[in-house]
Symmetry: C2
Subunit: 226 residues, 2 copies
């Protein structure tokens, strides 16, 4: 597992409520890679010197810094973490071994990033008919992911992996979805909610996911929700 | 190289002018993987039965079909092609071997997809001040990519690879950019244009990139450019 000086070599720069960054922190914990955590407060307008230097192109977090060199973007970080530490020294891997299953995991990760995230934003930002449409779309997307999960324990089968790490941070907004949309996800997506509870039993997930109330309060401020 | 029945097992569904799909076709040619090509005419509103069946979520192309099973999304396809055929049977690989260099290639591929593509769309769609701003942004992004290339022959060094396959299809719109923006890319980005010419010497690229006039004519129709 983690070697003594690993935490001196690996740093994650992130914001506690950043669903993208949670992926990286969960993945490192799953693989038993020790790391130092540096908080970047996204509520402040200016980015820190560290973020501006390590990610000059986007000035965004998460950033994984390994031996002084940055890897930016959450999916990119998961791929990197898996390539460097996955399936080595009795550690598990994040992505499955079969290329077709890997492609399947990446396809649905992209669906989460391109579809679910933008629908979440629309849902939280809008009002009236637009909000109703976004709510229906969001539920449809979550149900689709529930179908992809099927009756498996985790998305790739028996072991927690890549797509679990990609999606589980979104569950920290599920309380907010329910408050904002007036629905019950245990009724709408019972299978997906059982998966959420299974994930939350893991130390890696428990240690990283923030309080759901605080998440919703923050998003209410961000999106001007009354 | 290609085995006798490979072309029976590998199909690419794509549209001739689809810059994303060109990536997959170039990558397969680079690795010497024989494939059958099925044209999906994106000028027609309805998607074919094949596309609806193979990519029910997005109904988009490119789709790589391998032994009857689909892989969707151009970056996902490149990863899959590299995992299945790269670095095997004396074939080259697309991504570098070093995890940090792989992360670098994926980072800039994402930059092309998330930044350059949306800037191109803004540039072609807009008029007046908005067009001028998008033009400046597009040139800045191309110059940034030119810096990433530096004085290397290809993006990862001496060999044509992943990021070259990701970016080179965009060059089929460079003539259109120049016509639409009234600038000369040989003046603005001479290093990048030398890279374009080096890429175009390759059979894989030459066989796939469409005529630049036809590309611009099509985009003029799509974006209502007079």
């Amino acid at each position: 597992m983690a070697t003594a000086d690993e935490a001196d070599q690996v740093t994650v720069v992130d914001f506690w409520a950043n669903g993208f960054g949670m992926r990286a922190r969960i993945a490192l914990r799953e693989l038993g890679v020790a790391f130092r955590y540096v908080e970047e407060d996204l509520r402040v307008r200016e980015r820190s010197e560290l973020v501006r230097r390590m990610n000059p192109v986007h000035r965004s977090v998460p950033i994984l810094i390994h031996d002084g060199r940055p890897v930016c973007g959450s999916i990119n970080i998961l791929e990197y973490v898996d390539e460097v530490w996955g399936n080595k020294a009795s550690r598990p891997s994040l992505l499955p071994h079969d290329p077709l299953q890997r492609a399947h995991a990446r396809f649905w990760a992209d669906f989460v990033d391109q579809k679910v995230f933008s629908t979440q934003t629309k849902f939280l930002k809008s009002k009236g008919d637009e909000k109703a449409a976004a709510k229906a779309e969001l539920l449809e997307q979550l149900k689709r992911l529930e179908e992809v999960l099927g009756d498996k324990t985790f998305f790739a089968g028996d072991e927690f992996g890549f797509l679990d790490a990609v999606l589980i941070p979104f569950s920290s907004m599920f309380y907010g979805y329910q408050q904002h949309g007036g629905f019950d996800l245990d009724v709408e997506c019972p299978g997906l909610m059982r998966w959420v509870r299974r994930c939350k039993e893991r130390e890696s997930v428990k240690d990283v996911l923030p309080d759901e109330d605080e998440m919703y309060e923050l998003h209410k401020k961000w999106y001007g929700i009354e």
